[in-house]
């Protein structure tokens, strides 16, 4: 499927980097990262041309590598086995989140009036994950400084979530732009899907816990929803503080 390039309907905020046009050096993996940051419109355009599978594959690889690099920083707080467990869990988690959410993305794009094949939506989702992973790598030095300054899992968990939300916010803009590029009749469906994707990722951090704190087993023995886990973590952190204050 090769839809004709559409004139980009730019919102003022996305003034000059969502222009849907061919990407020069499309076969060069190094150019992908640069274009994702500077000209994401080119990536979206290229995903609907020939050799899109290679482009999508590279973005998935870069995305997982980026998340794993950030995972090393996440694991550095506890050290030991967490240094490999945290990147492995984050890489695995993002892959599982993609697999879980891909079918619903296809359904929601159909509901939005878009006629796009499933493989092309894979590319858009990989691009979103890759962009958020690149931003996480950018945040890694900041996260490392904080991880060396505190023992609080709650503080670091909140900080990592904040950085991830900033990253995924830019990533999901790509999904939105893909909808525009493909002539979506309404934005609402993709927005609802974005919320679902974020919730799945939140739950994934609980399903694969602990990611920040040290653990004896790779996976947890108890099942929990993410909100319950976060509230429990905050409560146990307070109890720890009180115990320290008493001693």
């Amino acid at each position: 499927m090769n839809p004709p390039p559409l004139p980009s309907r730019q919102s003022p905020f996305l003034a000059n980097n969502f222009v849907f046009e061919p990407m020069p050096n499309a076969g060069d993996p190094g150019a992908i990262l640069e274009n994702l940051l500077k000209h994401p419109g080119r990536i979206i355009y290229q995903l609907y041309q020939t050799r899109a599978a290679a482009l999508a594959g590279w973005m998935l690889v870069f995305g997982i590598i980026g998340v794993a690099i950030y995972g090393v920083v996440v694991g550095a707080q506890s050290g030991g086995a967490q240094l490999w467990m945290a990147p492995a869990k984050l890489g695995l988690g993002i892959l599982l989140a993609i697999l879980i959410c891909l079918p619903s993305l296809y359904i929601f794009t159909c509901l939005g009036g878009i006629d796009a094949p499933l493989w092309s939506l894979c590319g858009a989702l990989f691009a979103a994950v890759c962009l958020s992973a690149i931003l996480l790598v950018g945040f890694a030095p900041v996260a490392w400084i904080f991880s060396q300054s505190t023992d609080s899992v709650v503080f670091m968990g909140t900080l990592h979530l904040l950085f991830w939300i900033i990253g995924i916010r830019f990533g999901l803009r790509l999904i939105d732009a893909t909808g525009r590029f493909l002539g979506a009749t309404s934005k609402g469906n993709l927005r609802i899907w974005s919320i679902i994707f974020i919730l799945v990722c939140f739950q994934m951090t609980t399903t694969l816990r602990p990611i920040i704190a040290p653990s004896k087993t790779f996976l947890p023995t108890e099942k929990k929803f993410f909100l319950a886990h976060w509230l429990d973590s905050i409560a146990s952190s307070r109890q720890e503080e009180v115990r320290k204050a008493v001693h």
Partner: protein, 226 residues
């Protein structure tokens, strides 16, 4: 170079200076930051003792450079995803430029803060706590002023570069938020700057990497209000 720094302070720098970042200007900005902020840093520590003054003169520029390095990657990425069209090198150049403006302003304020210091109750007086508070408030005011002016200059430059007010505002806000967030923590790690009257003079506190600015603020807030 001095002409260029003067143009920078006036806000007359052309957007073209970011198109081909000049190594000479880059070195000039680093020198301006090192000189301006270390002279001002010396006046911060002087109220406590001359040795503290030397320590703060070293730590103040260090804080600025560490903030630039720590946030370098993410600032470059944010500038690109927000559509400013700036590369990593240009982003680093623009941020150094704004820190250079702030440092020059701080350097210019040093005689004034020295004069206030001369008039403040010294450490040995019974009103030492007033002296400490006056110096603290003076420095907060001067540093905030320098920061506001430097960011206004940077905003003007970003408007010229991006061609859009909203893009310039979004990029500037994201840089500012990131630099304040990391800068506050690094300042916490590099403390003391003024020097507590009750503690011995040291370059850094024991185990400087332990402790977190935001947790300390939260603890203080809880003690006061909860």
């Amino acid at each position: 170079m001095i002409k260029h720094l003067k143009a920078l302070l006036r806000g007359d720098v052309d957007a073209r200076c970011l198109e081909k970042p000049n190594v000479r200007w880059f070195i000039g900005y680093c020198i301006a930051i090192a000189l301006g902020s270390s002279v001002y840093g010396a006046t911060i520590g002087l109220w406590r003792a001359p040795l503290q003054s030397v320590f703060t003169a070293i730590k103040f520029p260090l804080l600025i450079f560490l903030t630039c390095i720590g946030n370098g990657a993410v600032n470059g990425m944010l500038a690109q995803v927000l559509g400013s069209g700036l590369s990593f090198r240009q982003t680093a150049f623009a941020i150094l430029m704004s820190f250079a403006v702030a440092s020059l302003i701080l350097g210019g304020f040093s005689p004034i803060t020295l004069f206030i210091l001369y008039n403040a109750p010294p450490l040995t007086s019974e009103h030492a706590i007033i002296g400490h508070s006056v110096m603290l408030l003076t420095h907060v005011f001067v540093i905030a002023f320098a920061g506001v002016v430097a960011n206004r200059r940077l905003f003007g430059l970003m408007q010229k570069v991006s061609g859009h007010d909203h893009t310039a505002r979004a990029v500037l806000f994201s840089w500012l938020a990131g630099n304040l967030f990391l800068g506050a923590q690094l300042a916490w790690n590099l403390r003391p700057f003024i020097g507590s009257p009750t503690l011995a003079i040291r370059f850094l506190r024991d185990d400087p990497l332990r402790g977190n600015f935001y947790e300390a603020v939260w603890r203080a807030f809880r003690h006061l209000f909860l």
